[in-house]
Amino acid sequence: MSIRIVNATLPSGESADFTIDHGVFTDDTSADRTIDASGLQALPGLVDLHTHLREPGFEQSETVLSGTRAAAMGGFTAVFAMANTMPVQDTAGVVEQVQSLGNDHGYATVRPIGAVTEGLGGTTLSEIGAMANSRAGVRVFSDDGKCVHNALLMRRALEYVKTFDGVVAQHAQEPTLTVDAQMNEGAVSSELGLAGWPAVAEESIIARDVLLAEHVGARLHICHLSTAGSVDVIRWAKARGIAVTAEVTPHHLLLTDELVRGYDARFKVNPPLRRDEDVLALRAALADGTIDIVATDHAPHPPEAKECSWAEAAFGMVGLESALNVVQEAVVDSGQLSWADVARVLSQKPAEIGRLDGYATPFALGSAANLVLIDPSARSTFSTASLRGKGTNSPYLGRELPGRVMTTIHNGYETVRDGEVVDAAEVADNARCAATEANNV
């Protein structure tokens, strides 16, 4: 089915009509169906470099199906699935399974991330080559949730991953400085009597790793940067020409550790919510390009993992459905980022870091039809009804946020239509057709 979209506003600000057929942008002016996008902002399909889909092993929290439905609802057409599944994504078999589940469901392209070390154990390299050369074509490797803290192992990982044009995505957390850590270490933790997670535990690992990356000439990506000091280190490294990229989560752009005062475990996340100064530094760094991308760190948990005392609760927040709203609230409405910048930090650049094809020239004739139409003038109260994944551990419940995703198109077919996720059977059908056509070309 072909779709014509009229009166859309492109990221550049120009108004445009375009047609999608057979999964790509074409110059036809007729189509089976027309979407009037008057007043809507068109963006390239969003790419999340940091998603926890939890399958296999933790299906009570999320599955590839539920997680990619959440992704579609948030305007994402591709997600990179973190390796901390059970079994861990440390072999070709597991990554291929996760990718094929994504392909079958069709809501978003699922690119598995491979574990750096076997079982995320931090001692032995996993089969990085086998994963890179598998059908899943893994290019991003991460022990996320755990830091690759052994310096020699990190050096070897950087070198070995470079061999396959991959990148190590580091969860920067010095473990000896964060034993039992519960929240940002500072004035609030001192009052609340919660064990602190000091900024230096992140900054010291980033400093070490950018120097290692420089020494071995490898690419390095830093997950969920959370402190002003980390921004300074990355800025220094980039000025020096080191091949480092960095991500920030939507929640670190909006929320601070003051929210921990009520001991509501929805605000428990790793790295923790930081101070106001950090939030402002992260926004500025995203605006000036020191931070390359926004990634969600979507981390669904079942209710019982949060309905307990703070120290007993799991770390993590769901973020796919709210990412664009939060980015709009934190940095677009304030004028720090244009929609063209949003397209860069939430689509083009994460695709480039993850070596995901089809996102380099959005909206160009012949390029893959992945896009999202949003209504930036909408405002609504975020609630569990806004969520499509299994997790309800969102820090935004009850908070008014701007923007609404009206349409998401993945590989030329709709995954969100009129603001609602399209039925799973229809999406799977369309995904099958698209795959067949791609094979016939």
Binding site: E191, D264, S309
Partner: protein
Amino acid sequence: MRHLLTTQGLPRDEAIAILDVAEDMAAVGEREVKKLPTLRGKTVINLFFEDSTRTRISFEAAAKRLSADVINFAAKGSSVSKGENLKDTAQTLAAMGADAVVVRHWASGAPKTLADSGWIDAGIVNAGDGTHEHPTQALLDAFTIRRRLHGSASRGRDLDGVSVTIVGDIVHSRVARSNVWLLTTLGAKVTLVAPATLLPVNLSGWPVDVSFDLDHAIAQGPDVIMMLRVQGERMAAAFFPNAREYSKQWGLNDERMRALPASSMVMHPGPMNRGLEISAAAADSPQSTVLDQVRNGVSVRMSVLYHLLSGAVER
């Protein structure tokens, strides 16, 4: 008062009202029949996720002297350990008709989580949560100081101008946090003394003076010196080198005891490590209020339960 979770933000007048009623309760403790019918028919549950016999029996005595029914629920151990169980336990107690739940928990904020959760309707009293707060300990400390200073003329008075020096493991101490907020609300001037490792990393929001030097603090002649318990496991975690060095630098030894004004009170929340943070002579001196603190604990907890369950002071 709906709950007592923290002393931070507890209004001065309300704190004084609690202390004044505790004076009345203390008078009951001196009668032959140490019992009031005030809370007859009310159920108070002592929910302890962490062992603390001293605190539990103090609350138990307080509730019984007010004729409440008391149930002790020791939730520590493998049966109640993770996650959902705080919710389940709370809902179970609610179903049993608890009017007040006295909670001791190893996790900071657990009483607040219970109070905010909607799992249970009962009034919650924080009986010590992790390294956060221990509000009834601070109230009994304030009561003890006031009584020593003003005796039978204590009612209605605050602690204006009283200097209190708190010494030791501040960072891990719920007693220190509750005392800082309460004593300063009542007008006292609080100084914290500890090595930098045992002080919270950021004290910008605390209305206190800070010193590393105990001898200097003693030379100021504080009205009250409060020694905190130091736990053995702190040495293993490199907070300080060993007991000998700690005792030498931050212990209230006999020499420092002599340097204190004879009018200074020596306080300790117990249990004491004699010879480590406090010498035997200091602990047993007439200046020591250690046993008064224990005695006053019952009166203060009676007052807290009374305020919580009789609806006398609504916030």
